[in-house]
Assembly symmetry: C2
Homo-oligomer: 389 residues x 2
């Protein structure tokens, strides 16, 4: 799996996008030795013994203008006026702050010694010429855009965003627009998965609800595989009497189904498949399971289609103590939604309702705790790792 292409975008449109190649700096950043203060560029050695009683008296040799090259050189016994951000002139190796300098007729009195390099940020202190500032696969954040602007990259090459088709199945499922009939529910997965795809850097397209019969499901899947970079289909894949979605995926073509059914709660009825280069993921019908499985399997796939280095996703793990016991879900790994609370004695995680029908257990959650399969689960007060949402 790889990005299907790249494009150039302006920096303001590059937030959250993934770099298509390494970016190296064509020059030092800052590009020259800069003064950190308003003051006087000097040779540090000239100020070695300076004090308020015995100031170092230096010849006023000129002034550095902001944004202009430093044409004056600072010779021994000389000082040159320099503004904050000004370019350090040749010969100088430090800047005396104006607060510690008295100015007189043609001379200045430096009343405090400065060390070499003092009040100066050296050329290349932030980024050195040729250094790879951001590696291919980085998802760009706000400060990154500043660096890219600083090294003269008003546009960057990023990977194309994968287009993700979202299908829902079920004879009882209506669109959000439809009036509710007895025995029917509205499609919650379409909107929830579209949000998850967007948040992960993809472009979602909700293709709607398909009746739970082979012909329409297979036809809808074929259209989705032909027109999109990835396909999510929810519902209908539980290992029961009818398993039309799984059968339909199996008919689409090689390599076909790779995994069917996983030992995770919620989310057992999960299908991982591919048709040619297009990943097809069958998600459980209920929205909590669908979103948990999305995070676990679909987002990593989407990130590979984005060419994204998962390390650039930002920090999203914390440790917390469990407010109450979480028993093991037996033969399945349990992904429990928790709410976090900072107390005086540290961070606590309170588990929310277990039922995968309760989507509000996810809207109220701050994170997920994974309870391993088998074993005793976690005792109340146990320290656990929480994946932040």
């Amino acid at each position: 799996m790889a990005p299907r292409g790249t494009e150039h975008v302006a920096l303001v449109h590059a937030l959250g996008r993934v770099l298509a190649g390494d970016v190296a700096s064509p020059h030092d950043l800052p590009p020259f030795d800069r003064s950190l203060v308003d003051g006087w560029a000097v040779r540090a050695a000239d100020t070695e013994t300076a004090s308020q009683q015995t100031p170092a008296r230096l010849r006023h040799a000129g002034e550095i203008r902001m944004g202009a090259p430093a044409r004056i050189a600072v010779g021994p016994g000389e000082a040159v006026r320099i503004p904050t951000g000004g370019m350090l002139p040749q010969g100088a190796d430090a800047v005396a702050m104006q607060e510690h300098v008295q100015t007189g007729e043609g001379e200045v009195a430096v009343e405090r010694a400065v060390k070499a390099g003092e009040n100066v940020v050296a050329a290349g202190a932030d980024v050195r010429t040729g250094r790879v500032v951001f590696a291919r696969g980085r998802r760009l954040r706000a400060p990154d855009l500043g660096i890219l602007a600083g090294i003269g990259r008003p546009r960057v090459q990023v990977t194309l965003q994968p287009r993700v088709a979202i299908l829902s199945t079920g004879d009882e499922v209506l669109a959000a627009e439809d009036p509710l009939q007895p025995g029917t529910v509205r499609d919650m997965n379409g909107a929830a998965l579209a949000g998850a795809v967007l948040a992960s850097g993809g472009i979602p397209e909700i293709l709607g609800v398909v009746r739970d019969e082979m012909a329409p499901v297979e036809a809808a899947l074929r259209r989705a595989v032909a027109g999109y970079d990835m396909v999510l289909v929810s519902g209908g894949s539980s290992v029961g009497e009818r398993d039309i979605v799984t059968d339909a995926i199996a008919r689409l073509g090689p390599p076909g189904i790779i995994v069917h059914g996983i030992a995770v709660r919620p989310g057992k009825p999960t299908v991982l498949a591919a048709v040619g280069p297009v990943p097809v993921i069958g998600l459980p019908g209920n929205p909590v399971s669908a979103l948990v499985i999305f995070d676990l399997f679909a987002r990593p796939v989407l990130e590979r289609l984005l060419g994204m280095d998962p390390a650039s996703r930002g920090w999203h793990r914390v440790r917390a103590r469990l407010a109450f016991r979480l028993p093991s879900a037996g033969p399945r790994e349990d992904h429990r939604r928790v709410k976090l609370e900072m107390r005086a004695d540290g961070l606590w995680a309170a588990p929310l309702p277990a039922g995968s029908q309760i989507l509000t257990s996810l809207t109220e959650a701050d994170g997920i705790v994974v309870v391993p399969l088998g074993g005793d689960g976690f005792a109340a007060g146990a320290e656990v790792e929480v994946q932040l949402l």
Copy 2:
């Protein structure tokens, strides 16, 4: 400060937007008692003594169709076939899983007792009729979109996104597009702040670089205040010889400057002002300071213009132990960038370079540790709170 208006958007465009009003559910979610499994709807009392040896023999009284109203009632001694997600028929109070039922001619044998409510999710278990599912001010996340779809809200009313003008000042500052000249640097704040505004829910507009002179700075600020909901201007506000940006802000009109200079490192030269309803924030010229001050002052202002409840920003605090000592920055609160690392004995935070000229200290950071002003700072190994970026 309040949102300047609201708009209706489709759910797929509502991710990250802020609700303009409370959203209550017009019906229960799920709208009816639903079966969690494929099986048989029964009266739990009829199965009380059921076992493999002595199954409860019930009359096969019909079948519930998926997506259809449950027209059949379940009488004493009866069972009705029901699919996962099917509507529980009147009279029934539980579902026996098909794995525990043998079917015969006109009757079914339930081989395991079920309790009232077993394998059923009750109407309203997720959301009850009339309950406010999301309060005004909530920033919408992916699972929220699922709930909104489920309660029949394909479109929601959200607040308008504030338009934020971004100005940079400085005679030495060029646009990212410009070729570098000796003594000049490129504008890094425009792009970095645009990214920060976008990530916070605003619409940034980079108005470019203005020469550090009163007339052009004042004119640019007046245009920005007239045309945008918020103005960010960076550079030129240090308390030095020239303080044109601060003076220009002071001329714009009442209420004017509220705060000038704050005891924070990096970021001392900060101006908080307003012109009529438009907040104007003067940020330091160097990008690390500008972004730290943005997080501290500009983002909360932007969130108020969005009408956003800050609690809906998601969890963004962790505790970690300091990999090495962080001394106090004396009379200023120090905002130090740190990199997080999960070790066997817990989470550790390694401080990155202190210099506010080093923007790579922010691009490499996972979070910020605030060292209080005065005092001794933090010892190596001390547990500190980290604000995640």
